[in-house]
Point group: C2
Amino acid sequence: MLIRAFVPAHITAFFVPRFNEDPLLAGSLGAGINLSKGTNIFVSIEEGLERHIHIAFNGEPVKKEDAVISYSVANEIIPKDFTGEIEIWQYFDFPNGYGFGNSAGGALGTVLSLAFALKEKTFLQAAQIAHKHEVLHKGGLGDVIAQVHGGIEIRTKPGAPGIGVVDNIFFEGYKVLAVPMGRLPTREVLDSDVVQLIEKEGEKALNTLLSNPKVEVLMKVAREFSERTGLLSGELLEIAKEIDKVLHLPSSMIMLGKSIFALLNENEIEKAKSLLEDLSIEEYHICDVYTQRPSVERWMEGKI
Amino acid sequence: MLIRAFVPAHITAFFVPRFNEDPLLAGSLGAGINLSKGTNIFVSIEEGLERHIHIAFNGEPVKKEDAVISYSVANEIIPKDFTGEIEIWQYFDFPNGYGFGNSAGGALGTVLSLAFALKEKTFLQAAQIAHKHEVLHKGGLGDVIAQVHGGIEIRTKPGAPGIGVVDNIFFEGYKVLAVPMGRLPTREVLDSDVVQLIEKEGEKALNTLLSNPKVEVLMKVAREFSERTGLLSGELLEIAKEIDKVLHLPSSMIMLGKSIFALLNENEIEKAKSLLEDLSIEEYHICDVYTQRPSVERWMEGKI
């Protein structure tokens, strides 16, 4: 049996971490954008005499210690008494660790594919398993619930899907420019002193956005958040300022990666492209906002 | 400016009403199915000197007293100081009052279209307005939040979108047969003594389904609920029994309408069609489950 799933990449514009001993209650407040590119997951399940679970990233098998979240998720949802071969192929449109929610995308795609195949758990029961292991292994706090909802989202209550609350902003005519520049481990930032400043600035950004829920406000408060927390600085800030010159809305930093994002309308695309060429930036993505729920379906077989 | 929205028809399989003085906390527990047919809404907005709001059902203008919910919703979301002509055209794939969530579909489609056009409220703020007027005018308790989520759904916590919780069951290969037979005003049933029996049987059905969340279980508990509450009886029950003869899952009654629904796979469609012909039932619908969120977009103009 072959299952295929798609989970959008999720970029965070600003956030407030909410830690909790119960991983289902832990999460984040904040806002972000789900992209039309992300993680494609292919799962093959064959019954057999022994239990084996294999995971591959972009076609290359990975060891258990390099895919702890997805292995934990798979082990929890696959029944204890199952024997057979399960292969989980995860393909990422963006690099790992750059702030695109790949670990959550892989975990959520894995658990939804297996839940679809096994039909023993509900959607929320499955999604909560992905959230739990993301939180326990510090992959992220809010990506899973944001990816479940899609769109340009505001997280107004922290927690796992079914516990937290995610809202959406209406928008029209915008594409997303994403420029992955480097890694910034979530874990490192969340364990540092910057967290207090993040909480203060994140709450301010959230209140401003909720009182005037427009994408223009989102980009303004996102940029303020990223500069005031000191996360957007140095070379990355210089690049953001260059991009600002050709777009009507401010660009900002992807939380948490050394990456920049911006919203642009159709007639700004060419200007953005030639600027990035001038800056010798070769890797960038222009995609749509993904406004639907993650997809999961049987693959390469009749639909019945 | 022209906006187009689609909200799926929502049929309830079983439910537990949860009344509350605060309409945002009122709602229902239960389970149901969102259909690929439903309500199409077209909204035209033109600024002008006077404020006029017009609503039409299936192309025919309706008076305020015949579309109280949609008029209330429109009046609440349109800013007090707006002047101009707003036309709201609602087209229903199913008849009104037969249990397909038309009033919620019209209200939700109206409010999402206007929120998309005005861009001053979030998705949940808008959807809560639809839920509130549905509850206040006894259109229904759980349709709006179910339609927001899509799919084959289980309502595990009552309330408006953003307050209640909706889960989904994974399924594969099923289409939905819907047979609208007559009206059954929600208001009449909710004001009667049957409510206590509905609560008892509804809770039992919900617990059974949550402990084994499969569509096969859903149809079994739905049928038990509809017979034990006495809602499915007489001629309607006879028709359900006839339909059962050609399908592998039990059919059941749509809450609340004099209507029948069933899940059928591809190779049961022809058998169902000829049976309905034998029974001289001319109006029936075979549709897909709608698994996405309601759509709303600018209509007949460039997307930018």
